[in-house]
């Protein structure tokens, strides 16, 4: 086994991980940074974000307005001190991206352009056509090449954290190209491993989004927070689940049912103005739009496609020129994957799992309860997203909290020495033994079968609408799957790029994460944001104005506790969209 000694180890090299690495490199060039990722940085899923990143920039906008939109959009489950800090830091971070060369779209006078986005009162979403995440990721990756203190470990799959005397002292990872196990000894560790959309069968998330970092932290005793809140994006392509950006609606796209009727007006989102009205109709929040689809489907007013029911997203009236300028990827994706040119026909879309609001429990400094461990981005829950994230807040979040995680890690690394080498080696040997056991044991359970069963039960029991019965059943299935996972069979016994091994380990992570989602959803007997209980349709601030806290207990179901939401100045109220909201 190899041991690599570094000052700060960062797991995940997407937007948050890269931003954290650059922050450390800029603030303290003498600190050695190990940037560890299971894929090359530019493959990270930040690349797939399309619409843009929110940050107040227009004279008629204010931090307070962004704060209010975010807090009410999150159905008052956001920690308001975190939101305050976030909205103030976002414009600065987006400006920094501009200084690093991000090709933001521009107004005619050369200023950075902003577009409307769902649930946002005014235009504040910075965008680079409809490939905002792609451009941000490549800008960050290329900028990171400037700093000699950043050493990248591309295609290293991290399996577990090293914990010594209640402090995180590093991690263990598999070098995929050799199969060797490597122990990274670090004074501070930042997790930036992204979300876990892949626990569901139908998702916009790439194959790599398997909740590895969440599971690593969870198993090391760090709780996962608000895991029951899973965002469905209202407009994915049927069949593949490929994302059609909210930017399409920000530019004026309309949603219609089988009768060509703008059905959102029936769900408290009207009036149906012919032109986009902020926070109304198609520019309502994602939870409301996805839920409206479900109701339309119940009423039999959706469009049938070979890949299930859909509604129509119509952008024809924007015209070819504007579509090519603002939404080129939407056109490209629709033509390629559903054979429809949106210049001439509406695009069939349906809700699809998109984002995990919940994640590793962190405070506003990105610190987890485990000293020395920090987390940022989708894998973390600060929480600024509450019960429902507003579109374009997450691309800003990875910058703001990626940078904060970097600064917090610097402070921690400067104040604390390395853990002991012997303890690290001992822990790493244990990790090695676990992997060796997988190679040696003749398990009986097929990993793909377990994964399919997990996907099915998450879809049927923990979807857009949930009930006591559906959740009970999913919890039981997941508990059973976790037991069966102990007998999982590794088919591939080779060392080099053993992707079967990676998939088995990812499945283990997903099962843990899925269980926290289902159990937390079962415990929350109210409806809030993206968590909708048919048996408890009302929000219950009396009992549930609180984060759920899922803690690991080996082999058992997670323990679900709670913690009060931080409320500074916005008392929970009614979420008003449509005519009343603007």
């Amino acid at each position: 086994m190899d041991v690599i000694v570094t000052d700060i180890a960062i797991v995940g090299a997407g937007g948050a991980g890269l931003r954290a690495a650059i922050e450390v490199a800029e603030q303290n060039p003498s600190l050695k940074i190990a940037l560890i990722s299971k894929v090359f940085p530019m493959r990270s899923h930040t690349v797939a974000a399309e619409g843009g990143a929110a940050g107040v920039v227009k004279p008629n906008d204010s931090f307070d307005l962004h704060f209010d939109d975010t807090v009410s959009g999150g159905d008052w489950l956001c920690d308001q001190d975190a939101v305050d800090l976030f909205v103030r830091a976002a414009p600065e971070e987006l400006t920094r991206m501009e200084h690093w060369g991000c090709p933001w779209s521009r107004d005619a006078d050369g200023r950075v352009a902003v577009r409307a986005f769902g649930g946002m009162k005014t235009e504040r979403t910075w965008y680079a056509a409809d490939k905002s995440g792609f451009h941000m990721l490549h800008t960050l990756f290329q900028t990171s090449l400037k700093y000699p203190s950043i050493t990248r470990y591309d295609e290293f799959y991290s399996t577990e954290l090293l914990v010594e005397e209640k402090r995180c002292t590093g991690l263990v990872a598999i070098e995929l190209r050799s199969g060797k196990l490597v122990a990274f000894r670090a004074k501070a560790v930042i997790l930036a491993t992204g979300g876990a959309g892949r626990v569901f069968p139908f998702t916009t998330n790439g194959a790599i989004k398997t909740g590895d970092g969440m599971a690593m932290a969870y198993r090391a005793g760090v709780p996962l927070k608000d895991m029951e809140f899973v965002q469905y994006h209202p407009t994915g392509l049927p069949g593949t689940g490929i994302l059609i950006t909210e930017g399409a609606r920000g530019e004026g796209g309309l949603l219609t049912n089988r009768d060509g009727y703008r059905y959102l007006q029936d769900y408290g989102l009207g009036p149906p103005d012919p032109w986009p009205r902020n926070k109304a109709m198609e520019l309502g929040p994602r939870d409301r739009l996805s839920q409206a689809f479900w109701h339309e489907q119940q009423k039999g007013r959706t469009v049938e496609t070979p890949f299930g029911d859909a509604v129509n997203l119509d952008i024809r009236h924007l015209g070819e020129k504007k579509i090519d300028e603002r939404l080129p990827m939407v056109r490209e994706l629709a033509i390629s994957y559903v054979g429809i040119d949106p210049v001439h026909a509406p695009i069939p879309v349906r809700p699809v799992v998109h984002y995990t609001m919940g994640g590793i429990d962190t405070d506003i400094d990105a610190a987890t309860p485990l000293p020395g461990l920090f987390a940022a981005g989708e894998c973390a829950c600060v929480s600024i997203n509450g019960a429902n994230r507003l579109g374009s807040n997450s691309l800003a979040e990875i910058l703001v909290f990626g940078a904060r995680a970097g600064r917090s890690a610097i402070a921690f690394a400067q104040a604390n020495p390395h853990g002991s080498e012997r303890a690290a080696k001992a822990r790493a040997d244990e990790a090695q033994a676990k992997i060796r056991a997988l190679f040696l044991n003749d398990g009986t359970e097929s990993a793909p079968a377990l994964r399919r069963a997990m996907n099915e039960t998450m879809e049927s029991g923990v979807g857009i609408f949930r009930t006591e019965e559906s959740l009970q059943q999913s919890c039981a299935v997941l508990a059973d799957l976790r037991t069966r996972f102990a007998q999982v069979r590794l088919e591939d016994r080779s060392n080099v790029f053993n992707t079967d091994l990676v998939q088995v380990l990812e499945l283990g992570a997903m099962l843990d994460v899925a269980q926290t989602m289902a159990e937390a959803a079962l415990t929350r007997t109210e409806s809030r944001g993206s968590h909708q209980r048919l048996d408890y349709p009302k929000r219950d601030d009396e009992d549930f104005l609180a984060h759920s806290i899922a803690s690991y207990s080996s082999g058992e179901r997670p323990a679900i506790g709670s913690r009060n939401v931080v409320i500074t100045r916005s008392r929970p109220g009614e979420r008003i969209y449509g005519g009343g909201g603007s």
Partner: protein, 129 residues
């Protein structure tokens, strides 16, 4: 065991396995004939300097069946070379903007063909007249 990256040897007929690579090699090959014709022209200059007799021998050689065949072949390859070159010129030029919009590649290529035709016609008129 550990990693042992395998480098596949270049296929001996790599340029015959793919239409795109084949056309590229043909394009590169045309330069031999363009070069050959340049040598013939150069030879003409030398003959001209040597006096009337040498020049007339040169002209006779050019109009012999062999001479004509060689020139036709050279012309064919030169034409192929020109056509492929025109096809890639839009890539070689910095984008030309008209009212802020770049001129489409097709227009640039067409412009080259028109210029080619006009120049050929001019040469014919001047020399043939």
């Amino acid at each position: 065991m550990t990693r042992r990256p395998y480098v596949r040897p270049l296929h001996p007929h790599w340029w015959l396995r793919d239409r795109r690579q084949f056309l590229y090699i043909v394009r590169e090959g045309t330069s031999v004939f363009v070069g050959l014709y340049s040598a013939i022209l150069m030879d003409g200059l030398i003959r001209l300097a040597q006096g009337r007799e040498a020049w007339e021998t040169y002209l006779a050689a050019l109009s012999s069946p062999l001479g004509v065949t060689v020139q036709v072949i050279c012309l064919a390859f030169a034409a192929f070379h020109a056509v492929t070159w025109f096809g890639v010129t839009p890539k070689a030029m910095p984008p030309l903007l008209v009212k802020g919009e770049p001129i489409p590649a097709r227009t640039i290529i067409r412009g080259h063909f028109i210029l080619w035709a006009v120049l050929s016609l001019a040469v014919l008129l001047v020399l043939g007249g």
